[in-house]
């Protein structure tokens, strides 16, 4: 309980008038001023009948003075120094670090997994697919197998785990495809999807055509097609 009618309104300091702490940020000051106006302005229900017109005028002018002082960085510093000399508020070194608004999105951020670098990564990947001779050789052949996929991947230096993470295809399926373990492959319908995701993840294009070529090369493909 903070005493009883300690001070008249005009004797409060600006921070007390606006009900804010001495380390309030500018947006808090603006907010507090708006809230105070809601309470004290002439047609407010809250303060109805509590003040005479003269008293209200005085309070409103005090609030304006408080707001204009605190919202101006230079004026505020001067005012704070006065208060510090009177010992009303703690001096600079005891003061907590001023809170400032914090960005929700930090667009300057370099590290991490935000959208922008990821896009760059894909662009680089696509360029190296186009430029790499060995990959082009593999892709231009009539047949393509799991072992070829593995070679392409190794050329690009992308770990299999990363593909599994990005495509959400199980790691053991992916390695079966690469090792050409025919008997352990999933059924054709799933296999097609997995291979396409794998190729898209590595930015190897055109994924549909390469996938079809791979499926034709699998034993029993004729039987399935028939």
């Amino acid at each position: 309980m903070h005493g009883f009618m300690k001070k008249d309104f005009s004797k409060l300091n600006y921070y007390e008038m606006l009900d804010i702490s001495p380390d309030a940020a500018f947006f808090e000051i603006r907010h507090a001023y708006n809230a105070a106006l809601q309470i004290y302005e002439a047609d407010s229900v809250v303060s109805f009948s509590l003040f005479s017109p003269e008293e209200r005028k005085k309070i409103l002018s005090l609030l304006e003075e408080a707001y204009l002082t605190l919202i101006n960085a230079q004026e505020r510093k001067k005012y704070d120094e006065e208060l510090m000399q009177e010992g009303v508020i703690a001096s600079e070194k005891d003061k907590k670090i001023t809170r400032r608004p914090v960005c929700i999105y930090d667009i300057k951020r370099q590290t991490g997994t935000s959208m922008l670098p990821k896009k760059n990564e894909k662009v680089i990947l696509r360029e190296s697919v186009v430029q790499n001779k060995k990959i082009n050789e593999i892709l231009s052949g009539p047949h393509i197998s799991g072992a070829d996929f593995k070679e392409i991947r190794n050329e690009l230096g992308v770990p299999l785990e990363k593909i599994a993470q990005e495509t959400r295809v199980r790691l053991d399926y992916l390695s079966c495809i690469e090792e050409d373990k025919i008997d352990r492959l999933p059924v054709a319908a799933f296999l097609k999807g997995f291979v396409k995701s794998y190729l898209k993840c590595l930015c190897v294009e055109p994924a549909d055509e390469i996938c079809a070529r791979y499926m034709r090369g699998l034993p029993g493909a004729e039987k399935q097609a028939g």
């Binding site: 309980m1 005493g3 309104f9 229900v45 809250v46 303060s47 009948s49």
Partner: protein
């Protein structure tokens, strides 16, 4: 000792009796022995809200010494655990309770053996109402979101303040004090409790510290009743803030109670609103209010009338 909750608020029609009856029913429903006392002397009607249409005993019987104890005029209501002292069928001059009778009543109320006692006070700021307010450190102010009602809350707070200061002085002392304050701050200043307080601080420091301690022990609560959907829901906290800043009383905001036309219907049909319309916003607000009151039990009963 009983928790005594005077329920008041300057303006008539703001829902004091309705609130008292609902809180009484809810607290009784929690298994607390609850007593409602209708102290809206001269215009009592609380009995109707708790379904006791023809009270056979009333507060007047105690005042007229028909019965020796206040406990003798307590009536049971159809609600389990809920009791009432009705003010119905009283003499037409009971509204002007003489001072001795009032003191006798206050002492008798303090002696009653109940868990909760809710005092339903009348509108206005007569000395009777103010003294009934000051029987407890925890009172409930009821206001509606209208300027008329809010105006009367400030009026009531100032009057309570004034009355309390008055109780620390004798009649002649207080008369002199008022004259001195008027001289010091100009005509009309004795109507401003804050100026009187400032004067006391410089001229009667020992009384001032007593008064300050006294005032800071008060725990008033504000209920904003009949809040319509389009009203500003922050109004209640704002009113509390301004009372604290400009009148020096700490008032807790206890909650909003939504407006509902069906309250009127329930009163007309003379049934309990809470039972008839339990799933309304208003009923929900009332239940929340009763819960928060039940939790905020504090020290009470300081009666400087011995």
């Amino acid at each position: 000792m009983a928790q005594i909750w005077p329920i008041g608020g300057g303006k008539g029609g703001s829902g004091k009796s309705f609130l008292a009856s609902c809180l009484g029913r809810l607290l009784a429903g929690l298994g607390k022995k609850t007593l409602l006392v209708d102290l809206d002397l001269g215009s009592a009607n609380l009995h109707t809200l708790v379904d006791v249409p023809y009270p056979e005993k009333s507060f007047s019987d105690f005042i007229r010494k028909k019965v020796p104890l206040l406990a003798d005029v307590v009536l049971e209501t159809p609600v389990p655990n809920l009791y009432i002292i009705s003010g119905a069928h009283d003499n037409l001059d009971v509204a002007n309770l003489p001072y001795e009778q009032k003191i006798k009543t206050l002492k008798a109320i303090a002696k009653l053996d109940y868990d909760w006692i809710m005092l339903d006070l009348g509108a206005g700021t007569s000395f009777n109402t103010l003294d009934f307010f000051l029987v407890s450190q925890s009172s409930i102010f009821v206001t509606t979101p209208e300027p008329t009602s809010i105006e009367n809350i400030y009026r009531l707070v100032r009057a309570i303040y004034f009355r309390r200061i008055r109780q620390y002085f004798t009649v002649t002392e207080f008369g002199r004090l008022q004259d001195e304050v008027a001289q010091c701050f100009g005509e009309g200043a004795f109507n401003k409790p804050d100026l009187i307080m400032e004067f006391i601080r410089t001229n009667h420091p020992e009384k001032c510290s007593l008064l300050e301690e006294d005032f800071s022990s008060f725990r008033f609560k504000l209920v904003l009743n009949q809040l319509r959907k389009h009203n500003n829901i922050a109004l209640g906290p704002q009113v509390c803030n301004i009372i604290e800043k400009h009148l020096g009383f700490h008032v807790d905001f206890a909650g909003n109670v939504a407006f509902d036309d069906r309250v009127h219907d329930a009163i007309c049909q003379r049934v309990s609103f809470l039972e008839r319309y339990p799933y309304t916003r208003t009923a929900y607000d009332l239940r929340e209010l009763s819960k928060s009151l039940a939790q905020s039990a504090g020290q009470q009963m300081v009666i400087p009338y011995s």
